[in-house]
């Protein structure tokens, strides 16, 4: 098959990558900030390279809610890593796909010849999301600071209401679409309704995710993980959100969280709120040759698409189909798939949409029938975010990294990693296994 467009640009390779264990948020700020997580993963990754951090050309990081001390967190990472002060660094934000956006940005910077060796990836410390003052409190405070005299201040005091002190939880606001006034879980309920997905199939999918991660942890999953060490003498070697004792009975007992009472999306069949980072090293052919680097995979293409915010979970379908069409590939040409598990309902909806004539005809003008069938045995073979957690800025980078590992471990040539994005978008990245160049 010939690609429909000629690749005139330079090739881009995934040299290596690593990630931290994903740590489930425990209702209080976790032991690591977003930059701590990115640092520990990257430091470990660089330690096994034949070059020094000073030789990197650029650092690009995805992060959705960096702390107030972490403005342009990529630059903070670069300096903490000991990169040369004169290399540039920037941070990207595309909500849940920020990590994949960072990879795409690095891919483009190498592909167009700007740089040869780029450290990239994503990080998120969701447990550190801030509590904010509500608007009424902010207004009152501005008047308070503006009051010049003691009398003026005294007059303001009775206007201060106890309810003003109730904080706004930034994380919950972030997981709510402001355009349609719907929570992310609500959009998953939409898909369950549209694609007739049952609670049972959602729970089955969730259970499988836990089981697959369980098997992965016992075999090869930890190979892609760098241990985390905190300042108190604790260390973290594995993802801690997975439930080895999960069962259909236990999942069935959980109450719907978003649409209370009558809904189907529960914490059990949704992704977990977690802290974590994944970083990868991308290189041009020139850099691979100069440092005699091993290569894991080649990034072939990447595509982004918009969908209705109320069915944001279908983003992967809309990003993947045009990308594969452009490359002249069909569903069967892909050996392994990673679709980020924001919600079980959302991944199931994607599988169904790919295979549905109506849906494909309606949304992809050129298609006469369904684009193809996604074999569930090729999808998320080592589980996903339901069991591991979904540190939003990191997930997009993690699935690409993991896909490269899957191709290496199980054999196979091509893989697609795709992710849905709050606000109604999808991203997809096509990679190819390469042993040497």
């Amino acid at each position: 098959m010939t690609p429909l467009i000629e690749n005139t640009f330079r090739s881009v390779y995934i040299v290596d990558g690593t990630r931290t264990p994903f740590l489930k948020a425990q209702g209080k700020p976790g032991p690591f900030t977003a930059s701590d997580l990115a640092l520990q993963a990257s430091r470990d990754l660089l330690a096994r390279q034949p070059f020094d951090a000073r030789e990197l050309d650029e650092v690009i990081l995805g992060c959705t809610i960096p702390s107030p001390d972490e403005a342009n967190i990529a630059r903070i990472l670069a300096l903490r890593l000991g990169c040369s002060e004169d290399i540039p660094a920037y941070t990207v934000q595309r909500n849940c796909a920020s990590g994949m956006q960072a990879l795409d940005s690095a891919y483009k910077d190498i592909r167009t010849g700007r740089h040869d060796l780029v450290l990239t990836g994503g990080t998120e410390a969701m447990s550190h999301a801030p509590l904010l003052f509500q608007a009424k409190m902010v207004l009152w405070l501005s008047r308070w600071y503006g009051a010049k005299t003691t009398m003026a201040k005294l007059k303001l005091l009775p206007q201060l209401r106890p309810q003003y002190f109730a904080p706004v939880i930034a994380l919950l606001r972030g997981l709510r679409d402001p355009i349609i006034g719907e929570s992310m879980g609500g959009t998953a309920e939409n898909l369950a309704y549209d694609f007739h997905i049952t609670r049972k199939s959602m729970d089955e999918f969730a259970l499988q995710s836990h089981q697959r991660v369980g098997v992965g942890q016992a075999t090869h999953l930890n190979e892609e993980i760098a241990s985390l060490f905190d300042t108190q003498g604790n260390f973290y070697q594995a993802d801690d959100g997975v439930r080895h004792d999960s069962s259909m009975e236990k999942l069935a007992k959980l109450k719907p969280y978003f649409d209370k009472i009558y809904g189907m999306v529960t914490p059990g069949n949704s992704s977990q709120v977690s802290d974590g980072a994944a970083t990868l090293l991308l290189a041009s052919e020139a850099a691979v040759k100069r440092y005699e680097l091993p290569v894991m995979a080649k990034i072939v293409d990447c595509h982004w698409a918009g969908v209705s915010p109320s069915s944001m979970g279908l983003g992967p379908v809309h990003a993947t189909i045009p990308m594969l069409q452009r490359q002249g590939l069909g569903m069967d040409d892909i050996d392994y798939w990673e679709i980020n598990e924001a919600f079980a309902a959302q991944v199931i909806a994607c599988i169904r949409a790919f295979a549905q004539d109506d849906y494909c005809q309606q949304h992809f003008g050129g298609l006469a029938e369904a684009f193809g069938t996604l074999d569930p045995e090729k999808l998320n073979v080592d589980g996903g975010a339901i069991a591991l957690g979904h540190p939003v800025g990191a997930s997009g980078a993690r699935i690409v990294l993991h896909l490269a590992h899957v191709l290496k471990q199980r054999g196979g040539k091509r893989g697609v990693a795709s992710i849905c994005i709050g606000g109604g978008q999808g991203g997809a990245m096509l990679i190819e296994r390469v042993n040497s160049i």
Partner: protein, 682 residues
């Protein structure tokens, strides 16, 4: 008039800029010629009617003034000559503080001892807020006290509590802390330093004074009470027979306060007396020994960027943390994450204590890479092995390291008992292996033994020495022989303590006897804190090569799992890391006889080591014992102590008698402007 050490320049506003740039030296220190020139200059300035103010600053890059020139001081030999320097210093400081124009000390880098006394004689002090800036009066660490008015002007400026905290501990303050304490009037970034200095001349704000409450501490009523509190505090740490200086400072202050001329006169008397004590003599000796060790790396071109440490136990972990604290990139390897994690936590504790500012702590933490797989070996400049004391294990490890390491990397072992020439047998290049032997606790004991095997290449030894200096420790080259130097001398001392214990002397009494001699910690407490298992393996290792028996009590303790502090019980029982000492009445025991027995084991082993050539000379041996074990510094080291028993060195008695012949309370100054005005002639 032109000067050798100073340049004076007036600007358009009439501000006199006085630059101190000591001729032929890289550091500003004060000696007779400097003082004489300064005296002349101050006269010139006082007579200059156009002068609007005086700003004193340093022409050196490294700092303001390091204090009195100690080397010149010791060369004076004759006590009368020293007296003259002290007196001259008082004249100059008084002349400076008597100037009618505003005066500013503009300080960047260190400002210590006599340097700070000069700054205190100025009306204002402004400092550059950089990490290099440190201010303090560390005289007490040399067994003396401030002698150019500092011990009076500092409590005047800050009140007694803060002033004595600085003078009794000899600790130094950073710029911001000094500003908060009131020691300096402003701590500003370098870009504002000159502007700040001229500001004080232009606007002449009120000079700093202690708050009314703090000023009260200097009152006649409060002094006896405050003095007693301070005495008690000092007594808990030092004995007056060992360290007379802090007590003398407190006593002078209690008796004479800070007002008028008497306290200045008393200060002169006091420092002259203190300078003649064996303590001061020996501490100065220790200072020069330290300078000698510091100078070991001079001229060696070797800069380390990355250190890899294998073994994250107490020693390995603490070595790694220390290297990271000193700015190196460090990787720390051990078999499992669980062995590395506690070392990371200890490192964090150390950084918090030493660096204080969060961004610096974070940067130091970022420099330590936990490295289970040893991937960073390939990039390391120095690789230090600190694993279990087992020959096969060490050999296997070094084989692996040699294969992975760069050709130029130093391969070092922290072994304390295994000869290098046994470890290096497995190496393709045995000449690369050198011993870099740290002491526990690494952050407190500055000595590092550099051990040469028979095969060790000379250049490798030099590089190891340079590395040790780079991380601000004191290198001491020793021959590879069981126990090397420090542990070899320490072991018979510990064994003697065990023998005393067997003879029925309670541990508390044994330790008390050693402490009375001046050891920082008694031998029993030391053994407990090192770990009795470690002591036992050390004793086994040593008795294999030398004569001597392993004390059965020690074996019994270890077999019973009583390993000392770490297991909660050894000779003492421990509660949250602190020993519960059963206090026995020391009067029932002959403590001097006990301490003599203990110390004699050390001095005689020290003689053996010297004659075997374990270390190059007796001074280095003494330095090793002081910086590696804390051997009573005021005794000057074991060999020096032995010598002092038989030869006449300045005796303690001088303390008792008035050496100057001046009546107490009078000032030994030949020229003192304000007193001349009063018509009081001294």
């Amino acid at each position: 008039m032109s000067y050798q050490h100073f340049q004076l320049q007036g600007d358009q506003q009439g501000i006199q800029w006085l630059c101190f740039d000591k001729a032929g030296q890289s550091t500003n220190t004060m000696d007779m010629t400097v003082l004489e020139e300064l005296e002349e200059l101050l006269k010139e300035i006082a007579e200059n009617n156009d002068a609007q103010g005086l700003i004193i600053y340093s022409g050196k890059k490294n700092g303001f003034i390091a204090g009195a020139d100690l080397e010149a001081f010791t060369k004076l030999g004759d006590p009368e000559k020293r007296k003259e320097v002290i007196a001259k210093g008082h004249c100059v400081m008084d002349a400076l503080s008597a100037l009618s124009i505003p005066t500013v000390a503009m300080i960047e880098g260190f400002c210590l001892g006599g340097g700070l006394e000069l700054a205190l004689a100025c009306r204002y002090r402004v400092v550059c807020d950089s990490s290099k800036t440190r201010l303090g009066l560390p005289e007490v660490r040399l067994g003396i006290q401030p002698g150019w008015g500092g011990s009076v002007r500092l409590p005047r400026l800050l009140g007694a509590i803060q002033a004595f905290d600085l003078m009794l501990t000899g600790r130094t303050l950073a710029a911001k802390v000094a500003a908060k304490a009131g020691l300096v009037d402003a701590a500003v970034p370098k870009r504002q330093l000159k502007r700040a200095a001229t500001y004080f001349i232009q606007y002449k704000p009120k000079a700093h004074q202690p708050s009314r409450l703090l000023a009260l501490t200097n009152s006649m009523m409060a002094r006896p009470l405050v003095g007693r509190m301070m005495r008690n505090k000092v007594q808990a740490k030092a004995k007056v027979e060992h360290y007379p200086a802090p007590f003398a400072m407190i006593d002078n202050w209690v008796k004479y306060g800070v007002d008028g001329e008497k306290p200045f006169a008393q200060e002169q008397l006091s420092i002259i007396r203190l300078m003649e004590t064996p303590t001061a003599y020996n501490l100065l000796r220790v200072f020069f020994l330290q300078e000698r060790l510091k100078g070991m790396a001079k001229g060696i071109q070797f800069k380390v960027k990355r250190v890899h440490v294998v073994g994250a136990g107490i020693m390995g972990g603490d070595i790694a943390a220390w290297c990271a604290l000193q700015g190196l990139q460090v990787s720390l390897q051990d078999r499992e994450a669980k062995f590395i994690a506690p070392a990371i936590a200890r490192a964090h504790k150390l950084f918090k204590k030493k660096l204080k500012q969060p961004h610096k702590i974070q940067a130091a933490m970022d420099r330590i890479l936990p490295d289970q797989e040893g991937r960073a070996i390939a990039a390391a400049d120095v690789i230090i092995e600190a694993i279990v004391e087992n020959l096969e294990a060490k050999q296997a490890l070094f084989k692996e390291i040699e294969a992975k390491a760069r050709n130029t990397a130093i391969l070092a072992t922290n072994t304390s008992s295994i000869p290098l020439d046994e470890i290096n047998q497995v190496l393709k290049q045995p000449q690369r292996l050198v011993g870099i032997h740290f002491f526990n606790p690494v952050a407190q004991l500055p000595l590092v033994e550099i051990i040469n095997g028979n095969q060790t290449d000379e250049s490798v030894t030099y590089q190891a020495i340079a590395f040790v200096r780079q991380i601000d420790r004191l290198p001491l080259p020793v021959k590879s022989s069981p126990g090397f130097l420090v542990n070899r001398i320490l072991m018979p001392y510990l064994l003697e303590a065990f023998t005393l214990y067997k003879e029925g002397i309670p541990p508390y009494i044994i330790d008390k006897a050693a402490e009375n001699f001046g050891m920082p910690m008694g031998p029993i407490a030391l053994a407990d804190s090192v770990g009795l298992d470690i002591c036992l393996s050390g004793a086994k290792g040593m008795t294999e090569y030398f004569t001597g028996n392993i004390p059965p009590e020690l074996v019994a303790f270890v077999e019973a799992g009583k390993l000392g502090r770490k297991s909660g019980e050894g000779f003492y029982k421990y509660k949250s890391g602190k020993p519960i000492k059963e206090k026995k009445d020391p009067s029932k025991y002959d403590l001097p006889a006990l301490s003599e027995r203990l110390i004699q084991t050390m001095t005689s082993m020290a003689q053996d080591c010297l004659s075997e050539g374990i270390v190059a000379d007796g001074d280095l041996l003494d330095a090793g014992m002081i910086f590696g074990t804390g051997f009573a510094p005021f005794r000057g080291g074991p060999l020096h102590y032995l010598e002092s028993l038989t030869t006449a060195v300045p005796s303690q008695e001088i303390l008792e008698k008035d050496s100057s012949g001046t009546r107490e309370g009078e000032r030994n100054v030949a020229c003192h402007p304000r007193q001349d005005e009063d018509g009081t002639r001294l």
